[in-house]
Amino acid sequence: MPLPPLPAEAIVLGASPANWREAVRLAGAALATAGTTLPSYSDEMIRMIEEHGPYVVIAPGLALAHARPGPDVLKDGLSVVTLADPVSFGHPHNDPVNVVIGLAVATAEAHLAFVADLANVFNEESAIPALAAAQSVADVQRIMGVTA
């Protein structure tokens, strides 16, 4: 199963959020703008981190913001937010974060195939710095290996 489409509305380049909450909110707003989630999904993603800590920072520089499948997820989808000014999530190893991926999945059962493709993208060591340096929506789509 390929990654879901990543339209231009789901990509934000060179953002300058004041803190991790704002960074996650940008990823959530991009998901909502692209029609993937309701705006309330941002609050769910933030709540996960408040509840469990900064575990979503799964690699140096990369936060995979996500919450559970639920009524605020309309379909599977991703957003990509790159930060001109990196933010700290309070992670012991992987701060500061300069790329935030917003992940929404409609059902837990179906998501593993697409997460495998997401892993393929980031198993390439150059992917996170390349995304952080992306200058255009097309750059991001190419690095992620997806179409609009």
Binding site: I58, A59, P60, R68, H93, L112, V115, A119
Partner: protein, 90 residues
């Protein structure tokens, strides 16, 4: 052999950990069943697991377990996964 990957939601990060652990185990020639689960269900899902893979944030919340808890810092670092899984299972 049963391995459980744990995160807050049971999707996303634990899914990535599952997928990449399976790849490393395959390369190590170790047969194992890797399941992704959320922290709320860890006691049930990991009751018969040998290894729990997770982030440092969840170690305290896992509570008492007979499984080895393996903390992964970089979910995309095959070398880290290989070294830690090999140490836990070897």
């Amino acid at each position: 052999m049963k391995i459980v990957a744990i995160c807050g939601a049971g999707i996303g990060s634990s899914g990535i950990l599952k997928v990449n652990a399976e790849r490393v185990l395959d390369r190590l020639g170790i047969e194992a069943d890797v399941t992704a689960a959320d922290i709320a269900s860890v006691q049930r899902v990991a009751a018969d697991a040998q290894v729990i893979l997770t982030s440092a944030e969840f170690v305290d919340a896992i509570g008492e377990t007979r499984a080895d808890i393996v903390v992964i810092n970089n979910y995309f670092d095959a070398a880290e996964l290989t070294e830690k899984l090999d140490a836990a299972l070897g």
